[in-house]
Symmetry: none
Subunit: 412 residues, 2 copies
């Protein structure tokens, strides 16, 4: 069973709106075990839309087209589908009544424009769910099917969940498989390095076809390893994933910081919570990024008490008691971490100092950072040369210092 997605709207091509609908549909098709090999964006142009729909129907058993069901002149999906089906549009009285009711329920009278939304290609069925004024359509084309849903996300979601996914599964019969994924997150190894460590396993999976492994470099979210299994049942897919996650984690070792797609700061907060420890930060060039990342998460307050952003030397000295000396150095970052524990009254702290760029600082090249962790009164520092621009140097430093803390907490 193959299903293509056609997202309709010139504003999508112009990049005025990002097409998140296709992604949402693609994800839900995958979870239903339905293949989707092409997804197309096309503008509000009748001929190109007709051509695109015909082509999609040639390649696939089903097509979901999203958008262009509104009341205005540039909403042309209904006409295009009618042409593809080779039938006329007919006014659907019940649809018209529904739309009218929707307006009157808001104490407004229906603009005549909206009657266009009640026009349905002959032979098409309306999708029962209709949260807005636009009816969704199920349009048979020979032995294939074309679904039309509105571009308004929540209206589309309701129709997909309520009718379309089930209809697709029914049409697919027993051939549908269940597809499930698990994502491991790693830090400390390059994408190609991971590929080498997992090369043998990937080759085995290419033969056995039990599962697939994909890498997703995701900046300071970590380097993700996504394992996807296709199976006859939920249970089978989950069992395959459990085994495969264990294999991959075994091959990669402690660079895996989450087997459940959790961000680094959540992993660290959980480790500290279990240890009953409190945490603080001292940040120079990351300028509050570590603290803001930790406090994104509700419940951080169980563990995280606060931080000092010491962007200038004076603040390092006055607030944290950092001795005079070069700012980007081991001495400074160690004193910052110890100062944070003392001033904030916490058991554990991390500290960052470095050169985010664009210019050198005190002759130190851009990307040079010193990071420290202080656990149970013992501070340890290390230096890294970060690649990339200011934003990436800052972000990579955040996950790197939190990863260092994670490793120290696991040691104990």
């Amino acid at each position: 069973m193959r299903c293509e997605v056609v997202a309709i709207g010139t504003e999508l091509l112009l990049g005025q709106i990002v097409d998140t609908n296709s992604s949402w549909i693609g994800q839900h098709l995958a979870e239903a075990g339905i293949d989707s090999f092409h997804q197309v964006k096309v503008g509000d142009n009748h001929d190109r839309l007709v051509e695109t729909l015909r082509q999609a129907l040639e390649r696939a058993d089903a097509v979901i087209c999203c958008g262009g069901l509104g009341p205005t002149h540039d909403d042309i999906t209904r006409e295009a589908i009618a042409e593809v089906m080779g039938v006329p549009l007919e006014l659907d009285d019940e649809a018209a009544m529904r739309i009218e009711a929707m307006f009157s329920s808001r104490g407004r009278s229906m603009p005549m424009n909206n009657l266009r939304q009640a026009e349905v290609p002959r032979g098409a069925a309306r999708i029962p769910e209709q949260p807005g004024t636009a009816p969704g359509l199920i349009c048979p084309v020979g032995d294939k099917v074309l679904y039309a849903v509105p571009g308004v996300p929540h209206e589309m979601h309701e129709m997909m969940r309520g009718t379309i996914l089930a209809d697709l599964r029914r049409r697919a019969g027993k051939e549908t498989a269940v597809i499930r994924s698990r994502t491991l997150r790693t830090w400390g190894q390059s994408e190609s390095g991971l590929a080498e460590q997992l090369g043998g396993r990937i080759a085995e999976l290419d033969r056995s076809r039990h599962a697939t492994i994909a890498f997703l470099a995701s900046g300071w979210e970590g380097l993700k390893v996504r394992i996807t299994a296709k199976a006859a049942s939920e249970e089978e897919a989950v069992a395959i994933l459990d085994d495969e996650v264990a294999v991959v984690e075994g091959l990669l070792g402690d660079i895996v910081f989450s087997t459940n797609d959790e961000p680094m700061e959540v992993v660290v907060l959980d480790l500290l919570r279990r240890a009953g420890a409190t945490m603080g930060v001292a940040e120079s060039f990351t300028g509050g990024l570590v603290a803001s990342r930790l406090t994104e998460h509700a419940g951080a307050s169980d563990v995280f008490r606060g931080g000092v952003v010491c962007y200038t030397s004076d603040v390092k000295h006055d607030v944290l008691g950092v001795p005079e000396g070069p700012v980007v150095s081991e001495e400074t970052v160690l004193a910052m971490a110890e100062g944070a524990c003392r001033v904030l009254g916490v058991d554990v702290a991390v500290a960052t100092t470095g050169v985010a760029g664009p210019d050198r600082l005190e002759g130190v090249p851009v990307g040079t950072v010193w990071l420290a962790t202080c656990v149970g009164g013992e501070a340890r520092a290390f230096t890294v040369r970060m690649p990339g621009d200011r934003e990436r140097v800052r972000q990579f430093s955040v996950i790197t210092v939190l990863d260092a803390l994670r490793r120290r907490l696991l040691e104990r």
Copy 2:
């Protein structure tokens, strides 16, 4: 001149990643006056990719394909393009050297995998910009052209801006019109409120067709008003925009904080720089978000000295000298702002305390925030009830407190 976009990656079809690259490319093609009528997503499958590229080349004069240039087994764009061109892949020594240099500059040795990235279809040219390990490619196919760029956004952006857009314009010759936009940013008025204030002007423009006005609600980037002009020449477009920006700013008044698409914190940093004032922050529930936002920008250190993240009452009391009492209150936020000025030795400070959620705090409902500014020793506080979830409450509080500081600085 027609240019199609092909986004490559099974993770895009599965909805594991939203394809923002095509939108970005579409927007920049539009601004360059180049038509883009189809944008396609296709997975990491050799045959389907080859077929998709051939089809795109039939319909368009140029194709930009994005993604699949990485070092791993599922990066197949190079092979597919070579097949479309009917040529073999050849190792490009300079590309190989570049990649090797990139690794050694980080003190790492290059995994052999990465050599795959240096394989180039015979007859293809490398794009000079190469911020990462993946070289971008310009591949002639008959009298048409196929560009290959990495899926990593910042690498793709650099190649588009540096080479591809100019190359496309050159190929298009004089047939392209110039489309230019200017974006104003506002804070403190709803989208529909803006639409009312600008309704008359928008109606005039619908008649005169000089320019178009679009609203883009952009979270804590502010509510953007984008003015777009299409003209025969750069000069003409810029002249239209200058006039229109003046008109719109006149209609909207001081809710406009930038006429040049600058973020709020950049505007505030510039005002402080001109006033020769230093700044600090005291943050409770925003947890470092104000500081990290300010320090995103190189040169913030002229003005920004540091901050205290006082996530718990103890830190508020011990570090900032905030008296005991309810945490989300006028007294507390005023004491935090004054404390920040004193402890950090700065002329100006902002402070935030509030309930980000998901749960009430001390009986105070989620979304209740107290914000303060302290300028020249005089602290002022105000309270707001923020809509939305934890993330939005935190982000809206950041831009709201910075906007309050902006208004105070403009008063003087």
